[in-house]
Symmetry: C2
Subunit: 216 residues, 2 copies
């Protein structure tokens, strides 16, 4: 009999863990009432808010903690003009008017940080170095940066902000303008601010659980 | 003067929106204290919980509301045995012992639902049909399913659960065993349950905001 074992019974531990669940209000903020913004109120978005959002999102899991996502926050009218030629007509006005637009990108040299971000197995970096690895590195960077973008969207909402992600733009043009050396590849743009409720569309239908999941 | 305009002033609207922000407890649950689980308590995970998680995650945005993510929840010992040959040694024991393992996949025929999920522009489906489109369709399906996986991980945490996502396994083997007709492609596995805190590793270092973001 181990008298030093003071861990509570499993049922108690599970009950404590289940109690971590978010309440209805919090679920509304990040999921059930969160909506893609198609226009924004003139409220300001601060660098402190954006930094808080990327720090929260950075805590989400990535493969081998590789953390490949990178952000360029386009705030100034001058920088918005650089983005303009890449925007599709349907995204143009709302993007030019948004308080800030994030360029979400992946760093193809993410593995240079592995010694620091995965110190238990720094040799993992070698998996990404060498001839014939370019496609693997690119897919790995994109996959993990997209996961991180999912965390980032929820983090923005968790801080009370709204966002409008857009895939409809000329990615090579954004790459050429903002990442001319080829190290970073653009994935999405996200307009960020406080959504103007008069400009939201009705929520589009979702697929039913039975259409997207099976249990085996 | 428009006497019918009863909208509150912008400052009030922004204050109400900022007040949607999550409190510290909720942020702890989904980000700041959430950790990848490397082992689980024997607490049960119900189909109701998993269904609630996929319904929350399904509300997150995807390009043109295409919603390509699909899940197979591997619950039974028999189904776990089908997964076993694809697992890497480091992921084997914890996956076999997890209450449930989700196979996260992308549906390459996601565009068949566009008429229903994007009824305002059903003709969008044509963008994905025709010769030479296979790579575009595959990338589009993967990209959006990975975004949705990001939402799903946060949704599981928001419901009080823990998860351990794994990329280290033989994807073609999982595809061959669970998706032999080639319609779905496996992206990640996620073990789900209540994490055993004695089996967690220390949190790995993250990159600093200045390393991942610039403001222009």
């Amino acid at each position: 009999m181990d008298l030093t074992n003071t861990a509570p019974p499993v049922e108690e531990q599970v009950a404590l863990m289940a109690a971590r669940a978010l309440d209805e209000n919090a679920l509304r903020t990040i999921f059930t009432e969160a909506r893609t913004a198609n226009g924004f109120l003139p409220g300001p978005v601060t660098r402190e808010q954006l930094t808080a959002a990327i720090e929260l999102a950075e805590l989400g899991p990535t493969s081998a903690n590789t953390l490949p996502v990178r952000y360029v926050f386009v705030e100034t009218p001058e920088a918005k003009e650089r983005l303009k030629p890449a925007l599709s007509p349907g995204n143009l006005d709302k993007t030019m008017a948004a308080p800030v637009t994030a360029i979400v990108a992946a760093d193809l040299l993410f593995y240079e940080n592995i010694a620091r971000t995965f110190p238990t197995r720094p040799e993992m970096a070698n998996n990404f170095i060498g001839e014939g690895k370019a496609d693997f590195v690119r897919t790995f960077a994109r996959d993990n940066a997209l996961l991180q973008m999912g965390y980032f969207i929820i983090a923005l909402r968790a801080l009370g902000l709204d966002c409008g992600a857009m895939g409809g733009f000329d990615k090579p043009k954004v790459d050429a303008e903002f990442f001319p050396d080829g190290r970073f590849i653009t994935l999405y743009l996200i307009n960020i601010g406080y959504g103007d409720p008069t400009k939201s569309f009705p929520r589009l239908p979702r697929l039913a659980p039975a259409e997207i999941a099976t249990f085996v």
